[in-house]
């Protein structure tokens, strides 16, 4: 087990270093940052706040990671969040029980994922185009469900999901922790992870080796839909209402960014759920950090852009060959950055 642990630590090292650096930087500008207090059996503090607010992006990033690993992308997650938030709000206000509401909402997320998956795997449409359809139409569907208003509710059970706490932690954190743990275990304790990576790296060779490519592709998009549904429920529960216009707006981009920060290549293949979760937390920490440090929040987007450009340069094939050319004169002649993983 120890070598495996070490391998994991090695894989996550850049993200961990980045996160630590950000936390240290913020706490130097804003001394109270590291403080944690317990009130009414619940943890409070800026760090908890980051983890709590980051919940939707973390959840989306989990599904997005698996989709990107198959060499795909899911642009519709923000819209699916809006749809599912709207479904949850309208079901709970029309008198359905909490359990029914949650199950139905998750089912809607699964259906959205199925739609995307079938377009990609069966009709063989490019993922970016296939998921664009739901991205465009989805918000309209959400508004159709809420009938254009912000559909508020006051069901204590549903609200608990957004602002309650469990074992001292806010519910959203508990949910994404559990969710990421389940997905990480599911992909790594079964053969799913390896098969998904094989498809993302070489779909033809995988199919020839007997991998059930279409089914796994659909499953990846279904997982993404499920994650988006959960994120949608949390976002709605947090504001005690479904806002079809703004729920999940542009979060697909944040989720993609989180995956990229987590080191999963947009070209598919090797992925790490834990790294993407860290990526999402890093993004949220930067958001919060800028807010706390007294910088105008306007800088947020510019910093995000800078991060993307930095990672782009690191991942660029040109840059890689350039670097490996410098570091290993003639021996292997192949890029070696991935060996560390």
């Amino acid at each position: 087990m120890i070598p495996i642990m070490r391998a994991y630590a090695g894989r996550l090292l850049p993200q961990l270093i980045a996160l630590t650096a950000i936390v240290i930087a913020i706490s130097m500008v804003f001394p109270g940052f590291l403080n944690l207090q317990i009130q009414n059996g619940r943890l409070y503090g800026s760090m908890i706040d980051i983890l709590n607010r980051g919940a939707p992006v973390v959840l989306l990033a989990i599904g997005m990671t698996v989709v990107i690993a198959t060499k795909g992308i899911d642009l519709s997650v923000g819209a699916v969040m809006a749809i599912c938030g709207a479904v949850a709000a309208s079901l709970i206000t029309s008198g359905h029980s909490l359990a029914e509401t949650l199950l139905a909402t998750l089912a809607v997320g699964i259906i959205c994922g199925l739609w995307n998956g079938v377009l990609v795997a069966v009709l063989d449409i490019q993922p970016i185009i296939a998921t664009l359809v739901l991205m465009v139409a989805g918000r309209g569907i959400a508004q159709l469900i809420t009938e254009g208003t912000i559909l508020t509710f006051n069901d204590p059970g549903l609200i608990f999901i957004g602002s309650g706490s469990f074992a001292g932690l806010p519910m959203p954190i508990v949910i994404w922790l559990v969710f990421s743990l389940i997905v990480a275990l599911l992909v790594r304790r079964t053969a799913l992870g390896m098969l998904v990576e094989a498809i993302g790296i070489n779909r033809q060779a995988s199919t020839l080796s007997g991998v059930l490519t279409p089914v796994l592709l659909v499953a990846a998009y279904v997982l993404s839909g499920l994650c988006a549904a959960t994120a949608g429920i949390i976002a709605a529960a947090d504001i005690r209402g479904a806002d079809a216009n703004n729920a999940g707006l542009w979060l697909e981009l944040d989720a993609i960014l989180a995956v990229v920060v987590g080191g999963t290549s947009l070209l598919g293949g090797r992925f790490s759920i834990a790294a993407s979760v860290l990526g999402a937390v890093i993004i949220q920490a930067i958001n919060t950090g800028i807010l706390l440090s007294g910088f105008p929040p306007e800088f947020n987007l510019i910093i995000k852009a800078a991060i993307i450009i930095f990672i782009l340069v690191l991942q660029s094939p040109r840059f890689r060959t350039g670097v490996s050319f410098l570091s290993i004169p003639k021996a292997a002649g192949k890029p070696t950055e991935r060996e560390a993983k």
Binding site: Q204, A205, E339
Partner: protein, 505 residues
């Protein structure tokens, strides 16, 4: 002897190396004005490397090149074109989404007042194509025309742009006999205009129909240049595959197998890929597949494995009809398949050696039943040792291994599934000599253990050595089956060279 003024293009002692291999070893090539010069050789012989050096797609490592008497060193294909060397490829290198006229004049469209003068361009395109007896609507997209016409358009563009040397790289591979004849008429006319034409093909009939001289390459070296009229077909094939016809090797195992066939394919085929064929394979038998490139060898393998679904015929295993409609179905029947193109269809580059080895077994077990890590390690270590896969450790990404070791890892992937029929497409291509011998030994030991194997190879000598029977393919059909005393390199070469296939002219 030729003097330099006869030659429009002279390449002298061209050298080109890639990491680990010498693709061209001091090759000489001379092309005269007004001749069609066939350049032949099996895959990996160095034909395409030579062409790429001549057209500037590769920079040569050594040697010199004279074009029309002056030293030439094209930096890229565009530069070569400017100097006078034009190339037409099998996959037409034009843009299907542009019109015929745009394709002909891309980058040099006539302009008036800064705007492209479409009318003049179309008129000149029609005039240009008229020289090639082609009267088509030049304002339509190239994609709306047949490959033959696209080919002619490509030739017209290449000749119009360069005008000294025309390289035709397998231009006839997807044309029918009538279209080939049209193409040859054009080639003869260009020859009459004094162009030097290099013609690459794997259809020997066409070589004889059109060429004046023939140059053969093998393993990156020049075998020889001969007048086509003085070189008979058998001698030519011997030059290509490196068998001296005097020596005869008999298969060591040709009489070793008897009994009922385990696999029985009847009228199995797919339109456009391979004509329906009958094939029996017994336990403990290696069936070789011989034939030149494009003869339908790979297509046979792909249909047997379900990579393409057969549209006629039946497959039986020990008397019961089985479904081979997909790779998964074939794997369920304990088939295994090492494809020819290792990079795109074989290895999963970023995955480790271990993961590549367990992939097919894992896929068969299904994702819910993961192979425990300890078992994966055991399997990987076992095959790394058994097949002598040279890798520092089993977690190395497979793309960092050499070709031979990648090939062994893919073999291990299938051996791990304990197959009963293993189909190997060019298992020894592009790998070093040591690994080559090991793979042949492995094939023999698997046969001795009672496995059935179908092996495709361009190396006849090798096929004779390990096959119990050899099926000969030509023009997308199985044309002969040799066993027992008939199974000699000589007979195989004769069967490949027989001329009752499709005539080019």
């Amino acid at each position: 002897m030729q003097t330099s003024s006869d030659n429009i293009l002279s390449a002298i002692r061209i050298e080109k190396g890639f990491p680990g291999t010498k693709a061209l070893d001091k090759v000489d090539f001379h092309l005269r004005r007004g001749e069609v010069h066939a350049l032949l050789g099996e895959n990996g012989a160095g034909k395409s490397t030579l062409i790429k050096c001549l057209t500037g797609a590769y920079r040569r490592d050594g040697g010199s090149m004279l074009l029309d008497g002056t030293e030439a060193d094209p930096r890229d294909t565009f530069d070569a074109q400017r100097l006078g060397i034009g190339t037409v490829y099998q996959e037409v290198n034009l843009l299907p989404n542009l019109t015929v006229a745009e394709n002909l004049f891309l980058g040099r469209q006539p302009r008036r007042f800064g705007m492209v003068d479409t009318r003049t361009m179309n008129r000149r395109a029609r005039e240009l194509l008229a020289e090639y007896e082609l009267d088509i609507d030049v304002t339509r997209d190239l994609a709306s025309y047949s490959v033959a016409i696209q080919q002619v358009v490509a030739i017209a563009r290449a000749v119009d742009l360069s005008g000294k040397v025309l390289i035709l790289d397998e231009p006839t591979a997807s044309l029918d006999a009538h279209e080939v004849e049209m193409l040859f008429r054009i080639v003869r006319r260009l020859k009459g205009r004094g162009l030097g034409i290099i013609f690459i093909t794997h259809f020997l009939e066409q070589v004889y129909a059109i060429s004046d001289r023939i140059t053969v390459l093998r393993n990156g070296q020049l075998v020889g240049t001969r007048n086509a009229a003085d070189l008979d077909r058998r001698e030519l094939i011997a030059m290509m595959i490196g068998r001296e016809l005097a020596t005869e090797i008999h298969s060591a195992h040709s009489d070793a197998v008897a009994g009922e066939p385990r696999y029985r394919f009847r009228n199995f085929g797919r339109r456009g890929k391979i004509d329906p064929f009958d094939l029996d394979v017994r336990a403990g038998e290696v069936v070789g597949m011989a034939g030149l490139l494009g003869s339908g060898r790979t297509e046979t393998a792909e249909i047997l494995f379900g990579a393409h679904r057969a549209d006629s015929g039946t497959a039986e295993i020990e008397g019961r009809t089985v479904d081979l409609s997909s790779p998964r179905a074939a794997i369920r029947q304990r088939f295994g398949f090492c494809p020819e193109d290792r990079k795109t269809a074989g290895i999963v580059g970023d995955l480790s050696v271990r993961e590549n080895i367990v992939l097919a077994l894992q896929a068969r077990r299904g994702w819910t039943r993961p192979i425990p890590r300890a078992e994966q390690n055991r399997l990987a270590d076992h095959y790394i040792r058994a097949l002598d896969i040279r890798t520092p450790d089993r977690e190395k990404p497979i793309r960092l291994l050499s070709g031979g070791n990648q090939q062994k890892a893919i073999l291990a992937r299938w051996l791990a599934t304990e197959p009963e029929l293993l189909i190997l497409d060019e298992p020894t291509r592009g790998i070093d000599v040591g690994a080559h011998a090991e793979i042949i030994r492995l094939i023999e030991s698997l046969r001795e253990k009672g496995m059935s194997l179908i092996v495709i190879s361009s190396e006849i000598e090798e096929l004779v050595a390990y096959s119990t029977r050899v099926v000969v393919l030509r023009d997308r059909a199985h044309v002969a089956e040799l066993d027992g005393a008939q199974l000699t390199a000589h007979r195989i070469v004769e069967a490949i060279a027989a001329t009752n296939g499709r005539e080019a002219s």
